[in-house]
Amino acid sequence: MMSHYESPPSAGTAPLSEDPLLRSARREALVVGVTWVCAMSWSVGYCAWFGYGRSIDGLTFVWGIPDWVFWGIVAPWLACIAFSFFFGARFMGDDDLGRDDGANDEPSGAGA
């Protein structure tokens, strides 16, 4: 696999560094992926364990909601909202999106 560092854009120029937005976007995407796996594991795991194959006699309610729905879905949902606030307001960085090249009524040229 050819690295971009092995193929400088033109002879005689120094290798270019990776776009900082790309680096931060990749880091944030990884954190989001971990969040997704955690939410899925908790919700599906908890509900499979406590919400399937039970008798109606043992059912209890939290705020009117069946216990397994509350702890398996509502509680992690609230936790995800809190995490989203942290992620959006604190963790995710601001980056310059760059200027808008082209985008007029003419079809633009192929990426050059």
Binding site: S17, M40, S43, C47, P66, I73, D95, S108, G111
Partner: protein, 563 residues
């Protein structure tokens, strides 16, 4: 005077019977007029600058509220298909939809920044544009465009039915305008067709007028109406049933213990499991990746103003989703005790029926019912308008302008965009002359199909330097083909009885084959990823200059002499 007296008598009779009244239709008419007015405003706002960028991308000016609340996560399915599932199967549907807790953060956090940046670097206006420019391949752009048209057409046709059904239920139910009587099979359902006509004229009208901005602004307005409508309905049903716990206990005595637990109540009582654990696991893929790979969602990210907009959208949408879906579940659980006897084919109508039933005793109840009905109506209009923009942009920008008439003038492009929207609307009407069945099943098919086709290619586009055109094409067709094959096998098996039908999932004939008990999307994503990687690595590496321009920091400006 006699006519007015007759209408007043009819209104009183409707109120007593709990059917829609003139107030209901008046509220919806006001809502429709407001949507048209927004279309006119959007038309004025996009007059400056390029027609294409204004009409199809809103000049990249979306703010956080607009981006968050218009990401088209709510649709006809939210207020028709999803409530129908809760009404039918009970609390387990909360697990079916639970992945919406992470949909905002995955939808904006994985691809948001990078797509917004790449679309600016390449000047792309549409999703196919972005594929074409990122890889320098018109064939890839055309393939993306055709795939989008295929999946979105399915989804949009299903939405028209939902819009027509809401209008049908808002018609006054007695006297000379008595449209809402139940229609026997084979009879002409004039309320439905009136609803279909009004819905189509409204949504095609304002979208053709204001393009992307009209779709976004009306979407924003409609999202607020949905929020108000859902919370109002929650208050009304809770006032009727007393408490959610009481409603659950009563519903389980009417149905069975399955209504309170997984895998859900089986109305056929034939051992059908709506949501076994394997499918519950699958739906954490289905909704997350449907959001990530939705072309309508991707194009809105491309239109965002800045990274700050994307950041704020994450927590705004996250809160909004919780206030829509959790209350909707409670509303429909309570709805099972308020209207316990909806037959299987009518459960899609639980929200409109609840709106009318719970407001009948209130002062101005029918007008309030209309405001609540504006929520599902708005959700459907918002989805259709955004899909109309994406489909029109696909045909006009990616087919007509690229291949048929590259020298088209702005006036020709404008005319062609309007014509395409009208033709697409007419096709949707024709497809709904016999109303489509399985609304929610079609929503799931369209969502999983486009997710299987676009998720991995979009990740390759954004993050992998070594991705090649053949690799991306292989990934697209392997993913989309897997989902399509599972649906063809499942539906054909239902018709021809090749092997024992899997008794899981939606109780519909539009039913995929679930390999290993998992949704086809789970397999499709894996196959798409493998195909993309293997084919990319076995084909010629992409042009280093093109990749460097899109992946590397811009070289520092050469020093200038300060004289």
């Amino acid at each position: 005077m006699t006519g007015v007296h007759g209408l007043l008598l009819a209104a009183a009779a409707n109120s007593a019977r709990g059917v829609a009244d003139f107030g209901t239709v008046a509220a919806l008419v006001l809502f429709i007029l407001a949507s048209m007015w927004i279309g006119v405003l959007a038309n004025r706002a996009m007059q400056s600058g390029s027609f294409m960028k204004g009409f199809f991308l809103g000049n990249r000016g979306l703010g956080a509220w607009a981006l968050a609340l218009t990401a088209t996560v709510q649709s006809g399915g939210t207020f028709m298909g999803f409530p129908s599932l809760v009404y039918t199967h009970g609390w387990v549907v909360a697990l079916w939809i639970a992945s919406y807790m992470v949909v905002p953060i995955t939808g904006f956090g994985v691809l948001g920044k990078r797509l917004a940046q790449l679309s600016r670097k390449t000047g792309a206006i549409t999703v196919p544009d972005l594929f074409r420019e990122r890889f320098g391949s018109p064939a890839l752009g055309l393939a993306a465009s055709l795939c989008i048209l295929f999946y979105m057409s399915f989804m949009m046709v299903a939405q028209f039915k939902a819009g027509a059904v809401v209008m049908k239920h808002s018609w006054p139910g007695a006297g000379p305008l008595a449209f809402t009587e139940e229609v026997a099979a084979g009879e002409f359902d004039r309320a439905y067709f009136m609803g279909l006509a009004i819905f189509t004229i409204t949504v095609v009208g304002y979208t053709a007028l204001g393009g992307f901005l009209a779709a976004v602004w009306t979407d924003l307005f409609q999202s607020v109406m949905m929020f108000v409508g859902v919370l109002a309905l929650l208050g009304l049903v809770l006032a009727q049933v007393g408490s959610v716990e009481e409603a659950t206990r009563l519903a389980t005595t009417q149905t069975g213990p399955g209504f309170a637990f997984g895998p859900g109540f089986d109305p056929s009582r034939a051992g059908h499991e709506f949501l076994p654990v394997g499918l519950a696991f699958s739906f954490f893929f289905v909704w997350v990746f449907s959001g990530l790979g939705s072309p309508a969602g991707l194009v809105r990210i491309m239109a965002s103003k800045s990274t700050g907009t994307i950041r704020r959208s994450i927590y705004l949408l996250s809160s909004y989703n919780a206030f829509i879906y959790i209350p909707l579940i409670v509303v429909c659980i309570c709805g099972r005790t308020i209207i316990p006897d909806l037959p299987p084919g009518k459960t899609d109508e639980i929200i409109p029926r609840l709106a009318i039933a719970t407001t009948r005793a209130l002062p101005c109840g029918s007008f309030l019912a209309g405001l609540i009905l504006a929520a599902p109506f708005g959700a459907v209009m918002a989805t259709v308008s955004s899909f109309l923009v994406v489909i029109a942009s696909g045909l006009v920008r990616d087919v007509y302008q690229r291949f048929l008439n590259p020298a088209a003038s702005p006036d020709q492009l404008r005319w062609m965009s309007h014509a395409v929207m009208v033709v697409v609307g007419l096709i949707a009407v024709l497809a709904n002359l016999k109303p489509v069945a399985y609304l929610q099943a079609i929503v799931v098919f369209s969502g999983t199909g486009s997710a299987a086709t676009f998720c991995v290619p979009a990740l390759m586009l954004a993050y992998w330097r070594r991705a090649t055109v053949p690799g991306v094409l292989a990934s697209m067709f392997a993913g989309g083909g897997t989902v399509l094959t599972c649906y063809v096998v499942g539906v054909s098996n239902g018709l021809l009885g090749w092997f024992t039908r899997q008794s899981i999932g939606n109780l519909t004939g539009f039913h995929p084959y679930f390999p290993g008990g998992l949704d086809p999307l789970v397999w499709a994503l894996g196959i798409s990823l493998a195909a993309g990687i293997v084919v990319s690595l076995r084909t010629t590496p992409p042009d280093a200059l093109l990749v460097s321009r899109l992946f590397d920091a811009a070289p520092p400006e050469p020093p200038t002499d300060a004289h």
